[in-house]
Amino acid sequence: MKEEKQNKNPHDRHPMLEQLSQLWRNKTAVIGLFIITIFFLTAIFAPALSPHNPLETSLYDQLKPPAWYEGGSTKNILGTDDLGRDTLSRIIYGARVSLIVSMVSVGLAFVCGTLLGSIAGYYKGARDSIIMRIMDMILAFPYLLLAIVVVAYLGPSLQNAMVAIGITYIPRFARIVRGSVLEECEKDYVMAARSIGARHLRIIFLAILPNCMGPLIVQTTLSMASAILDAAALSFLGLGAQPPTPEWGAMIARSRGLILRASWVMTFPGIAILLAVLGFNLLGDGLRDALDPRLRD
């Protein structure tokens, strides 16, 4: 009722504004956006925010507990690892690594998936069958297994982990885009664009794809969440970020041998992963409700 008063004729508003205001009303989405914003700001301003150099080792400060533990000090608020590196600084810089990895891998999947999906959906026929069968082949592997195997062949490194995650995510984008393009192709505006002689690429990129953005944005957000998890898992297995890169998964892997003596070393990177992934999942859920009610589970 309140909204009706504020806006007497909601039909006058641009649909995007309507969706944005719907998103704003969705509490979970706002919380998610808040968490993600904090992570992005942390990543951008890492040098200014981190109290120490994340790579600097200190022989005298090895395995210092967090400030609130006995023996802890405010010099290293979240304690230090076995080489005396400051955990808080490494987590702050880790946000950079995780966000870059997830953005690059999801970006790769987004571009390839959208291209393949729109070709399949627009041209149909043999091209559609071939592309979608290849996507089915990739989907026949459990995600993480495929990523691990791809990195195993390419060699362990952060770049290869990004490529591996990107490849495994292509089918999700291709399938969504293909479905949306197939649906949009039947609509009158596409017919109109064809009848005025617009070229195929123009129809696909300027007419059809902008109308498929809703589900794509949702999928991108949710994929960012799983990309952070998968990248951390690969680094945990020693297949992603290599030492001394401050990466959350690699930090947990390194602290495995220390769980008896210093359990705090692994606690905080885990919480950082959980929060970052949770942020993207919350936003993704909210976006889905706002942008694409059909996808709601």
């Binding site: 592997f141 459990p142 195997v149 062949y153 297995l237 998964g249 709601r296």
Partner: protein, 334 residues
């Protein structure tokens, strides 16, 4: 129904061929000599030459793929670099451990996931609903390798309730029949071993079940909410059926349809996650074996293990599709 099942089985063939093509190409698209990759850097020139002839590495790619398929049909997945064992024999030894872990994890996730989902749906917007859905969201976002370590610290190191790793304590005798330890213990009526095996599987299985449980809970809740709004539920309530009957007999049966598909997909998640869980808990399954192989760059094992897990995943997806058709007869008509 039978026609549908046959059709689905026929689709299995191209999918499995696709899996084999990807696995085959991975080795050949990797920079370097495949023979050297497979045998390791320390292999002698004679051994390399022998393998090149055996795999037909000097033939064109399609001929090589044909030879690869022929070997697959015979169950020849090659030999491991380190133990010189047949890869297939090692897979056979290890897969029961992985399946046991995945099945127990999925049972846990289905049971608790569905219970949480049903209660949340029937008590929508209650405190329980909010708490369990926030919990489910946290579960989906959980790095399970971290959670496993946290469980280890709490339940093994601090409380001492559960064993830290492995499948069975040293000193516990168990006559191995199927290699599924829990099943073997039941078959041989060896109750101390049964208790020990269950004790060992709890922590890895609960860790592995986290993400599937959260997904099943969310799916069950939304499917139940959808069904509970239907008219036939109103009718069932109006004719005076008990709440229990309405929920479990009328609503749940229809709500189960999308949930079953989700559970099937979760098997893949569990198989992928098994690599992480098995590594953390030193669980001697295919996952840990593959991790060790990745670390030692034993590509024969990586190839064999990948093929096995992917084929298993494809077959499980087929079973889920068939099960789906049985629960929802409209599918097979389409």
């Amino acid at each position: 129904m039978l026609a549908y099942i046959i059709r689905r089985i026929l689709i299995l063939i191209p999918t499995l061929l696709g899996v084999s093509i990807i696995v085959f190409l991975m080795l050949h698209l990797t920079p370097g000599d495949p023979a050297e990759l497979l045998l390791g850097e320390r292999a002698t020139e004679e051994a390399l030459e022998e393998l090149r002839v055996h795999l037909g590495l000097k033939e064109p790619l399609h001929v090589q793929y044909g030879m690869f398929l022929k070997r697959l049909m015979k169950g020849d997945l090659g030999e491991t670099i380190w133990t010189r064992q047949k890869v297939w024999i090692e897979v056979k030894q290890r897969f029961p451990a992985t399946i046991e872990l995945a099945v127990v994890a999925l049972c846990i996730s289905c049971f608790f996931g569905m219970i949480f989902g049903i209660i949340s749906a029937t008590k929508q917007y209650s405190i329980f609903d909010y708490v369990s859905m926030v919990g489910a969201l946290a579960g989906v976002s959980m790095p399970i390798f971290w959670l496993g370590l946290v469980f280890m610290i709490i339940f093994s190191l601090n409380l001492g309730w559960l064993p830290l790793s492995g499948r069975l304590s040293t000193g516990v005798d168990l006559e191995v029949i199927t290699n599924f330890y829990i099943l073997d213990a039941i078959l041989t009526r060896n109750w101390p071993a049964f208790r020990d095996a269950v004790w060992h599987i709890i922590m890895p299985a609960v860790t592995l079940s986290t993400i599937p449980m959260a997904i099943v809970a969310r799916m069950t809740r939304s499917a139940m909410l959808e069904v509970l709004r239907q008219d036939y539920i109103k009718t069932a309530k109006a004719k005076g059926l008990s709440r229990f009957k309405v929920i479990f007999k009328h609503a749940l049966r229809n709500a189960l349809i999308p949930v079953v598909t989700t559970i099937g997909l979760q098997f893949g998640v569990a198989l992928g996650g098994a690599i992480l869980t098995e590594t953390i808990f030193a669980w001697p399954g295919v996952g840990k074996w593959m991790y060790d192989a990745v670390m030692q760059r034993d590509y024969m094992v990586i190839q064999g293990g990948t093929l096995f897990i992917a084929a298993l995943f494809v077959v499980i997806n087929l079973c889920v599709d068939v099960l789906y058709a049985i629960i929802n007869p409209r599918i097979s008509v389409q």
